[in-house]
Symmetry: C5
Subunit: 358 residues, 5 copies
């Protein structure tokens, strides 16, 4: 299930910047891919160990270092030393579950973004992507082993689409890829909302309600992730506009539009789910009404009849009294009782028919 | 039914600006109408093929190129080359279901607006209108085959109303026409709200609830479309005021007022529907109360009576005991029982009458 | 009933500024009263026809032209020509149901305000007041035949109260009169809320709920009218402060305070009504509980008893069996059964008493 | 009960500044206390009649004129003349029920504040306090006879606490005293919320709900009073900071903090009450469930049993037929039926036990 | 239970700055620890009495004076005199339950923060931390005896983590420690939300609802504490940035991020709890439906049967009438009745099966 609180935090009062998280939980680095860009041309991407990560590149050139999996403390220390990362930035990498944010530590722009992904069980997880834009390098660290950038890597060499030649182009491409991961997730949510809508209008049950609650939970998680993402990209456009060429800025604004659009969708789904809940609750009370109605009909018809037949089951007997249930001895007594019974039942049914209770 | 998520999106990481959407789904161009305006005078409108779309006009003159139907990738490429459109703008044209927005790509002002329309089944769709104001041309692309601008085309030649002689006049007229399409949609919603109100105050049922939910859904979709529309027009007034003459600006503010008014209506309808839902739920619980009351009345009257007649149906018999149901043998036994029965029933009915349960 | 959507709108795409509304629906001018102010002194007010409306006055002087009833297109054209009104302003006069707004067309300040009025059936209507402040004239047009300014007219000549000698004084007085029409309406709503509160705490029924819904509807309409009114007056104070002398500005701020106060009241009533609805729904579920409880009590007491008397109504008989309901033949059999019955009934009643179900 | 609409208003269109309210309703001045401050030293406070109110004091000196009770029109006129009050300010004094506000009329700073007080019946009233800071005088008018400033008066002479020597010090002390009157009111509300919480978790009933509604009503009234109070004090700090010495400004910010804190509390109580209402409604539906369950248990156990004993109450008899209820004549017939009855009842009870319905 | 209103306040009108709270309730100072920092090096921390608190240190040096427990009036006076604290600041220390705030009194920056802590009963309390940054000293006062800064004290001497050498570093460390106390509290809330979610989806009852209400209460208290905390830290960053070195500012922004993240979590939990309440209420109404259904099934099956056996319990007898219940004397009469009974029961069961009521 989608977790709401999955941030790991040190005991209050610990010196911030202390790198001390549980290495085992984090899983360690699973793959490092380095793509060097020399004077606007991309060399082949190579998979390296943490020891072979190149230091910051010469002027005009830069490397894209893509780390898959949260590094252990030791691994991150090595990375940090080689690339000159700030302790706070490194702490954020380790303490996954951060809120999206952008900070400018010395000469390195640091961004924390989230990557909404459905795992194999269909549960939603927000994995953490940390992006660093420094002198001569772009570093991306994805908190789980997933590779979110295969399309970007393909474009480095390819001819189609806009060509990436500058670090800010690459940063934009990475942000764009991270943000666009929300579309398939929302698409799946949309399909489930549609399915639930059909189920609720048709034949709702407890499992429909649980599904509704599950969806709401996912939207809460998504929303908590998307709001700050929007904020971060806006902040980038506002405060760090100098990082980008005016051309890339135009494309960044497009990413911003995407986050706004995605937030809009989340809000719309929330509204939809609220409306579906109303329909569900009304259906429940409708069903209740129907059961009660049926019960009332049955009771209203049979209670008087049972009373009547009870009357003629009484054992009054007095040889001389003309009042000791003489009906019992009449020639037409029994048929008369049936007439009365059928009359009462017919009248009741007629009344319920008129009230449209049948 | 009104779709909430109907945006088409490429796989995350794809280079933005890639024109790659499914041509078949988009349907292709259905008609292109070109109206040239030479020194403030409009020549006759002609229907042309994509090959005959004129390039940007000479100084002082401009064309209005009105494309009906989303172009295919190839068609849009040709259009884009001839008129110098930006890749991002062209991507937005293809990926219909965009959020309304305005962007300034180089020298071309690009706007994405929505056109709320009821299709033949009464379902609400927000079609996409893309407007481009460049040097020497105004380009409008409507995502479906519908022609939203017949009135505008009539005014080009006509004498009544304000005469259109400049590109910004035309842009204003197109925006105004697009925005005003919300009025008939809201008018229809208003009528349905009124009808539902009557139905709910009269005789609500499950189908009333479903209609309420359907209306809510439409308002969610409309709202998601109208909020950014208002924003876009405000942004136009604020950031792109230089595009318009001071006279046209006055008229643009009028359009802005329309969007605000329309949003107001949507919010008011939301409030109304929320209030109607409350009435509906209360009616349901009222009905339940009535059924239960009826059941209680019936049970309270007949259960004691059935007990009494049951008592005299018991077979106690002892030749010598004076306690073996002697009532059964009394002269007035049977009438007495009836007196008791009628007394109890009368008392119950009197009490329920006093409690106003009848 | 209070209408939510009562704006008349032309077909989308029509040239704005086209004066084309249905003259019959609007009703035409019913009375025009002209009050000339010559060098700070008011001449007598005269009722004139549209032909006799004076053109703008000489320097230092001004007329107050008060039109009651929405003019027909022809009448408005004449008025517009004589006083130099902008087409958009005239369109707003005709298309009643406008959102309150203030615009500055050329030299004429135009304001659209609303006049909340209860008609004879007690239904709330927001009539439209259009105010124009031009060189040498103040024009007021009220959309229905109602005269909202008798008090103002009295003050023109009178001695009590602040004397009106300038156009901005008059404009202020008219705005103030229009805004203050909300007080009696809110007063009436307040009384109905109080009455409903009593009814709901006492003895709520379906008609209480319908009254609650009716109130909510009126508040939705009022709110939709009052929000923009507040905005308009604020905008006047902010952007058009030059229209007013510093002294009048002080009084205008007082009007602004009134609109804020009125909005506050509307919001408070909304909160009250929401709270009353909660009380209503809880009362309903309370009643349900009581009915069900009564039913349960009756059934729990009589069902076991009916079972017992049923047992002794069985016809088991075996001459030699000691098990064939020998109780029936006991000397104390019948009284014993009554003891059991009374015992069971007493125990049940005692338990229900202890649970406070009686 | 706490009134929501208790503003007195003149007919719309009346000249503002007209002093015309109902003198009888207002009650007239009940006491006037004048405390002169000569060169930073306070002379003894004397109770005077309206005729003896001193005019504005000489330079460096000032009087504190404390009026208890809303003055009549004549009385206010006299006061206004002597101290030079603005007509609008005087109108606000008479039309009690004003929204808190601060205005700068000529040289006199005018503030309207509210004084939340519980009257003897425990009903909440917001009385009006009007404060005027002019040259040489501070005037305070409390709308009812209550004296809200005994502590302040004591401090004038006393030695403990901060000494008041300037008009702005006094104004601050009066505002502080007025604002702090909200604490005991909120304290009382807090106690009632706690009591209600206990009642609702324990044994809720209709009277709990009515108490909840009463609290909500009071919070609506308080909130309507406190929001603008906060605003007014903020406005004072922002726009009228020149009135205060930098030292007093520090203390004024403390008052502002108080209003914020008080608003926070009101919002928290609203949240609490909303949560309590949810608990209440759930308790109701829980009870309903229990009643219905009990009813179902009773009916499910006794209906089959009654049917069975009914079977053996039938009078089938045929001398030769082996099918004419031979059980009735069996030796073990009667005990067998009891076995069946006990078996069925036991099975039902066992099932209900397993479902935890007991 | 978490208290909402636990502020102690003097009677309205009392001179602010008066130190007069109930010393007994506050408990007095429990420990004072002084850590002197001489030229960037920390001497050993010593526990002192209030008499031995050192006055402000020489230039370049500073002391950290950590007071545990709210001082009595006399103790605070002594502290205040020695360190030069402002009366308002001292008042805030005594009147615990303050809203978080930051003020700049003369040369001393004063901050009030809250310390959310679970006491031994699991009840949430917000204790008050007062921080003072003056010339030569940092003073921290914790309202209860708890020591929130053991980790910070350890870091003073230690080598790991960022070294504290300046007063602003220390202030930052203290704020950071206070803010981070919210994490374990939220962590515990998160676990309870998860447990409640399971309970509600499984088998909800009244105690689940009470737990839900308890959680909501805690979130209301936390929220009321966290909102102003965020505000205060933002205000520090905005208005008092000069207090911090640019390096520490970076770290302060990290604290700000923490408060934002914590607020996000609180809001998400609120949403979760609202959703859980919906699920709870729906479960209740589901159960009701099931009980009613079962009741209806039982009644619908057995009522007609009871009627039938009642019929044959009637005592009609007429020697010669062919209508006097001849069935009773038929050879196959009894089996026939059973056939009818089984037929009716079977039909009912079949219908309910088809309606999926079983």
């Amino acid at each position: 299930m989608a977790l709401i609180f999955d941030k790991s935090y040190p005991p209050p009062g610990t010196a911030p910047g202390t790198l001390s998280t549980d290495d085992k939980a984090n899983g360690g680095v699973q793959r490092i891919q380095v793509s060097p860009c020399i004077r606007g041309h991309w060399s082949a991407t190579s998979t390296v160990t943490i020891e072979d990560v190149p230091p910051t590149a010469a002027a005009d050139d830069f490397h894209w270092i893509d780390v898959q999996g949260t590094p252990s403390v030791a691994q991150l220390h090595r990375l940090g030393e080689r690339l000159g990362l700030h302790p706070l930035a490194m702490e954020d990498v380790l303490n996954t579950g951060q809120r999206p944010k952008a900070d400018d530590y010395d000469t390195t722009l640091t961004m924390i973004l989230g990557l909404p992904l459905k795992d194999d069980d269909g549960a939603l997880h927000i994995h953490q992507i940390s992006l660093f834009l420094g002198k001569g390098f772009v570093l991306s660290i994805t908190s789980n082993g997933h590779d979110p950038f295969p399309e970007v890597r393909r474009r480095l060499q390819g001819r189609h689409g806009r060509h990436i030649t500058e670090p800010d182009d690459l940063l934009y491409a990475l942000i764009d890829a991270a943000v666009d991961h929300a579309y398939p997730v929302l698409d799946a949510i949309g399909e489930r909302v549609d399915a639930l809508e059909e189920a609720i209008l048709d034949n709702p049950g407890m499992e429909t309600l649980h599904a509704l609650h599950g969806l709401k939970r996912e939207l809460i998680v998504l929303r908590r992730h998307l709001w700050p993402t929007r904020e971060v990209i806006n902040q980038l456009l506002r405060d760090h506009a100098d990082v980008f060429t005016s051309d890339t800025l135009l494309w960044m604004r497009d990413v911003y539009d995407h986050t706004v659009q995605v937030m809009d969708l989340v809000e719309s789904y929330r509204d939809m789910i609220a409306s579906l809940l109303d329909v569900y609750l009304s259906s429940m009370s409708n069903r209740l009404n129907e059961s009660i109605r049926r019960l009332t009909v049955i009771a209203t018809i049979f209670m008087p009849l049972t009373f009547i037949v009870g009357v003629y089951g009484m054992n009054f007997e007095h040889p001389n009294s003309p009042f000791a249930m003489p009906e019992l001895g009449w020639y037409w007594g029994y048929p008369m009782v049936w007439l009365v019974i059928i009359g009462i039942a017919g009248f009741m049914i007629w009344r319920f028919k008129r009230m449209r209770w049948f």
